[in-house]
Amino acid sequence: MNTPRIATAMNTIDDDLISAAAFEKKARKRPGWLTRVAAAACLCLVVVGALGGIHAYMKQYVASNRIPVYPAADFASEAAMVSPEQAERLNQANDIHNALSAQNYAWYGSCYYDFDENKIMVGLTDVSQRNMETVLPHTGDTVVDFYACDHSYRYLSELYDKLDGKRTFLSLLGVKGYNISVRKNKVEVWFENADKYAAIYMISKMDSTGGAIEFISDTSIDKMSSD
């Protein structure tokens, strides 16, 4: 084999290129474990950074959308103070609610007993004469009052099912429990602490109409606002 022409032609390439290749310091080989530890540390930093970023984003989302988290102290049970008459009225309201929710009307919202006014209230998203007349056969002899509510029970029920489908994940994010409040015509979600921004963010995103969820925590609003 003759010497390839390029080998001889290369002899006069620029001096600085030769110097650089001749004098360049040899790279020190890092031990394998050091590389692995460094990679693991970098990964941890990336994960911590990413989680920090996500947390900050969700906190910002909750703040900018003014999503309130109410203190649990405001939700003391009224049932502890009911008289036998009130208990009877509560049962009536409950029976009407069960009957109407079973019909799965798109416009039915809620039915509850108003302790202060001593009235059984039926909430409809569309308080039309036709809808009211449709309700009456389910109320029997009980007199009811109608009011306009924001969310149908069907929607609240779907929202509840969505939450229930993610209950393990939500419990990891700090959700203690959830239920449909027919009185408030909302799904109530309970937390131990008000700073569970990831859960608040996720659950808020599930509510496509908006305003159908009420967040309640054991910590006070003051504590939350100081976070």
Binding site: P4, R5, M10, T12, I18, A21
Partner: protein
């Protein structure tokens, strides 16, 4: 001693210039020659011829980069020596790095109108466009004729990575030369 002082000694025709050159660049010259010739007698001879050639060239030549100047002489002498050994059938050695280069520009029958200087300029320009580590790996292999293993150890790469880098560099160089009108 720095290069300026060594060159000064050559200009003064002071024989210490050879001693200082050997001390500073002897190992580097030896390595280049050894990579091509292997036989230590041939290597010694080539390195000594290098010192003699430098002595004869300086003055009047005043190299800007003494190291590159000396290495180039060693390289030329080593390649010539290799040709002689092959012609005399004293060396059946296959220099792998040379055979790798053969694919790019085999011999003088290719592009005879193009001067070596032009090809050299094109290669310099090509190498300047390469990433630093790719460029140095290429030069260590095809200028200094280091083995793949030595290059891998030098830059803390795996041998397969070095081979892959060289393979892609050769392909890019071939395309580049073709684009520059130096046809294969």
């Amino acid at each position: 001693m720095d290069d300026v002082q060594i060159i000064e000694l050559f200009f003064l025709r002071d024989e210490r210039a050879i001693k200082e050159t050997a001390e500073k660049y002897g190992k580097l010259c030896y390595r280049i020659a050894k990579n091509l010739l292997l036989n230590s007698e041939d290597v010694e001879e080539c390195v000594n011829d290098t010192y003699l050639t430098v002595w004869n060239k300086i003055p009047p030549t005043h190299p800007n980069n003494l190291m590159a100047f000396i290495c180039k002489i060693t390289r030329v002498l080593s390649l010539k020596r290799l040709e002689q050994l092959r012609a005399a059938k004293r060396s059946a050695l296959e220099i792998v790095s040379l055979s790798e280069l053969e694919d790019i520009l085999p011999d003088s029958r290719i592009s005879p109108a193009v001067e070596d200087g032009e090809i050299s300029k094109a290669i310099s320009a090509f190498l300047r466009g390469e990433q630093e580590d790719v460029r140095n790996v290429f030069l260590r292999r095809y200028w200094f004729f280091d083995s793949i293993r030595d290059i891998a150890a030098r830059y803390s790469f795996t041998e397969s990575k070095v081979k892959a880098m060289l393979f892609h560099s050769r392909n890019r160089l071939r395309k580049y030369l073709k684009k520059e009108g130096i046809e294969v």
